[in-house]
């Protein structure tokens, strides 16, 4: 447990005065993500610890440098989970000794959600409140530790996925969920177009589907909920049931991008599209999550063609993993319309008037 608020505030104030760019960093598990890494590192791992956890309130509050695995372990002890099932992209085992583990702050800043996202919501949906130091070193608290709170603008949700560009998080309060009583994964042999139709059809029914993944002509869905509900859905859907260990390995592999699909040197694209969009005719292999809404593409195709394909169907494409020169050339995040970019720059400026917080991590322009 450590509280570095005062120290950090002074460091930010002095950086603001000198114009020194700062880069917040926990375990560095997501250093690969974003447009660029710039600025003097502020290591968040010393500012750690669970500040409050009340299982019957469904709320946990922890400092930003707290290891995600420590939070998940505390929740597991009470039969609860982080609903958005975040990827760590770092070692997760409790016995891992190296300090490259994902932190809560990084998890919120990256705003990346895992397999359960389509069923229960994204990181931002679970953020209830947050304290941060803005780019002038001012401590600001937004939201709180209660489920419903509409006092003031919902700034704490804005912070999810902001990639540290608006300030340095101190602590975050999250809504948590009970661990489902039962889980069962089912496998089906199915080409992509059938899988997309099937998933959209199931999503319109009252079924306890908590995750889906299609890859290499195989669809796997996970059922979560009451034992009886999972059993009934299994009978209704058919398919081949996976053993628990195999299922856990599959979902972890997809979430952490350790599955075979993610190996290799080709750039990895993340396409977020409406779930009903038919198979995208793009060169390269695809892996599909979130009931059809999230399409991973391993491809060396031109960035322009991939972005256009995503935009045409109302989505967007992120260059998720690639060599730095490729990122420089293509831009990591989907370009914003002119007016939106101008508005986002004004919002950035309102929190970080000196432009010192993770500059250029999201867009070159801020």
């Amino acid at each position: 447990m450590g509280d570095l608020t005062q120290q950090w505030s002074e460091r930010i104030q002095s950086a603001a005065t000198s114009g020194q760019a700062l880069r917040w960093r926990g375990g560095g598990s997501k250093d690969f993500y974003g447009q660029q890494l710039a600025g003097e590192i502020v290591d968040t791992r010393g500012h750690c610890g669970i500040v409050a956890y009340e299982p019957s309130e469904l709320v946990i509050t922890a400092r930003s440098g707290t290891a995600l695995r420590d939070i998940e372990a505390a929740l597991a002890g009470e039969g609860q989970i982080l609903g958005f099932e975040p990827p760590h992209f770092g070692p997760q085992a409790n016995n891992a000794t190296h300090a490259t583990h994902a932190t809560l702050g990084g998890c919120i800043a990256a705003g990346l959600s895992g397999p359960r996202r389509a069923a229960v919501g994204a990181v931002r949906d679970f953020v209830l409140g947050l304290r941060l130091l803005d780019g002038a070193g001012r401590m600001l608290k937004f939201g709180g530790q209660v489920m419903k709170n509409v006092a003031g603008f919902d700034v704490s949700r804005l912070m999810a996925g902001s990639l540290g560009t608006l300030g340095l998080f101190l602590d975050i309060s999250l809504k948590v969920l009970p661990k489902p009583r039962a889980e069962l994964s089912l496998r089906f042999e199915m080409p992509q177009c059938n899988a997309l139709d099937t998933l959209n059809g199931w999503a319109g029914k009252s079924l306890p589907i908590s995750a889906s993944c299609w890859c290499a002509e195989e669809l796997v869905v996970r059922l979560s909920g009451a034992h009886t509900a999972v059993d009934a859905a299994r009978r209704q859907l058919g398919g081949e049931a996976l053993h628990t260990a195999e299922a856990t390995a599959c979902w972890t592999g997809w979430r952490e991008q350790q599955a075979d699909f993610f190996a290799g040197e080709l750039p990895l694209w993340r396409l977020a599209v409406p779930s009903v969009v038919p198979p995208l005719q793009l060169h390269g292999e695809q892996l599909i999550e979130w009931g059809g809404s999230l399409r991973w593409l391993k491809s060396g195709a031109a960035a322009e063609s991939i972005r256009q394909a995503a935009a045409q169907v109302g989505g967007h494409a992120t260059l998720f993993r690639a060599a730095q020169d490729r990122k420089q050339e293509a831009g990591v995040f989907h370009p914003l319309p002119h007016q939106m970019l101008a508005l986002q720059r004004r919002i950035k400026h309102s929190f970080d008037p000196h432009g010192i917080c993770n500059p250029g991590r999201m867009y070159r322009e801020f």
Binding site: E54, P55, S56, E57, L58, G79, G111, A118, R124, D125, R138, M139, L140, K141, G144, V146, M147, K148, N149, V150, A151, G152, F153, D154, V155, R157, L158, G161, T165, L166, P178, K179, N200, A203, G204, S206, P208, A226, H227, T228, A229, A233, A272, P274, V276, S293, G314, G315, H316, T318, H334, M340, L343, R346, I347, K348, H349, S350, F351, M362
Partner: protein, 505 residues
């Protein structure tokens, strides 16, 4: 926490020097050139209908009302007002409970109520694209044929509009499980005060850049005007069942709420009513509530038949263990709706037994429920006023209904002091001054209690990023520090500040 460090840069603009009559003529002429004759109201008798929203204690006449018929008219009105420096207050169905749609005396009231088309409903993609004036319930009605519905269900859902829901981040009876408006809106098309169209979100599950959709939902009309909304539709649960449980003490009922959550269940609905509330409701709707109970709980489960059976059995066991004095499980849809009818009629029922009532909207951690109820009971004695309590117990959102008679001198003032004390306690217990009704005009003073000077300044900078001149709904939701100081005097009671132990500035 820094306070008094700097005087706030952004002040609410002062419109008082605007010469009303002369200005009005030129404003009306400008508006008449951009909207059809029938869309522009300016006669006092026409404006009267718009002088307040559902918080009728506050009334003001706007300079003019525009009933926009399409997005083009919205843009034209905003551009005109922007050019002339005239405040604009957007309004949906006017069912808000915090005065968010209270007109500005030197401004235009922009009603979106005529924009009420459901533009597109896609049952396979499970989305509906609607105009802002579409009623909340109308979306669910349109989706019903496909076995789908729009989940957030504020008690005003029969009348309230989706645009207003977006402005207020409306909740409802089922939000512990299904979320608030922010969890159920995928996209909003908005117009800024400068007349620019901005698309927030999309039909995928996320959008590039900062999440301005989340920021805009619940922004109470201060950032932009919504002209189109895409909502997520949810499959209708196969079955819903309700347990009605009675308790001899409010402490036992509150403990049962925590025990249900601790048992790993997220009920579809979890409501509490105290004895005063059931006593008000029962003669009015005959819901079958136990009038001897100090508190009753309504616990709903929904989902597949199997899921519901399992959850109901678990909740039943928990409630019995927690000392429920009686317990009934709905055996039919009709009975479930009858049990709900009492809860849903709580506000009008209290309105029947008291000439006036003041509805509060604090949220506290669930574990403090019993403490809050005890404190409210003590406040009833202190202020000599009755208070019926209904709670969204699952998420700690309280709606104490303070009963008073405005015709009796001093009762309104006592009521306001009573309410202020409840809000003070909400903040002190780790909660908030508003769970779902919004700050609006009503709670602008209480905002000064919950937020520091730096935080309020941050809100103003966000507003300025969207609306540099401060023309959209000025004087609502976020107080200026100047205003905080002024309003500090408004709730002074017997020479004491209502929250003497809390930071003031």
């Amino acid at each position: 926490m820094t306070k008094h460090r700097q005087h706030q840069a952004t002040h609410e603009q002062d419109f008082s020097d605007v010469g009303r009559a002369a200005f009005l003529r030129s404003l009306l002429a400008e508006l008449a050139s951009v909207v059809p004759r029938q869309a522009l109201l300016s006669a006092p008798e026409e404006l009267k209908a718009y002088e307040c929203d559902a918080l009728s204690a506050y009334r003001r006449m706007p300079l003019a009302v525009v009933l926009a018929e399409d997005e083009q008219q919205v843009i034209a009105v905003l551009q005109t007002c922007h050019r002339l420096g005239v405040p604009v207050v957007a309004r949906g169905a006017g069912t808000g409970l915090s005065g968010g749609a209270l007109p500005h005396p030197h401004g235009v009231l922009l009603s979106l109520a005529k924009m009420k088309k459901i533009l597109h409903l896609d049952p396979v993609a499970r989305v509906a694209v609607v105009q802002p004036g579409v009623r909340n319930l109308a979306i669910s009605e349109a989706a019903a044929a496909h076995g789908l519905y729009y989940a957030p269900d504020p008690s005003s859902q029969i009348a309230c509009s989706i645009g207003g829901n977006v402005a207020e981040n409306a909740g409802g009876l089922h939000c512990l499980k299904y979320g608030l408006t922010v969890h159920n809106v995928l996209r909003a098309r908005v117009v800024t005060i400068g007349g620019e169209i901005i698309e927030l979100g999309n039909h995928a599950l996320d959008a590039p850049g900062l999440d301005l959709l989340a920021l805009t939902i619940g922004s109470e009309g201060l950032l932009a005007v919504v002209t189109e909304v895409t909502v997520k539709l949810t499959p209708k649960p196969e079955l819903a069942q309700l347990i009605l449980a009675s308790f001899r003490t409010v402490e036992a009922a509150a403990a049962a709420v925590a025990a249900i959550i601790a048992a790993g269940i997220i009920p579809a609905g979890l409501e509490m009513m105290d004895k005063q509330a059931t006593a008000a409701v029962e003669p009015y709707v005959h819901a079958g509530y136990d009038l001897d109970a100090e508190a009753i709980l309504l616990c709903e489960s929904d989902g597949t038949a199997e899921e519901v059976a399992e959850e109901i059995a678990t909740m039943r066991a928990v409630l019995e263990r927690c000392g429920a004095s009686s317990l009934r499980v709905s055996t039919s849809e009709a009975e479930r709706l009858k049990f709900w009818a009492g809860r849903k009629a709580a506000f009008p029922a209290v309105g029947r037994i008291s000439p006036d009532y003041y509805c509060m909207d604090g949220t506290i951690p669930k574990k403090r429920l019993a403490e809050m109820l005890k404190a409210i009971a003590a406040m009833e004695k202190k202020y000599g006023l009755r208070c019926a309590n209904v709670f969204h117990a699952g998420d700690g959102n309280l709606h104490p209904l303070i009963m008073y008679d405005a015709a009796i001198a001093g009762e309104l003032q006592r009521t306001e002091a009573f309410g202020a004390e409840i809000l003070e306690l909400s903040v002190r217990l780790g909660g908030t001054i508003t769970g779902e009704h919004g700050v609006g005009y009503e709670k602008i003073g209480a905002m000064c209690v919950q937020f520091s000077a730096d935080e309020l300044a941050a809100f103003h900078r966000i507003k300025a990023a969207f609306d540099p001149q401060g023309l959209l709904n000025p004087g609502k939701a976020v107080p200026t520090l100047h205003r905080c100081a002024e309003l500090g005097g408004m709730h002074v009671h017997r020479g004491k500040l209502p929250f003497p132990e809390l930071e003031r500035f």
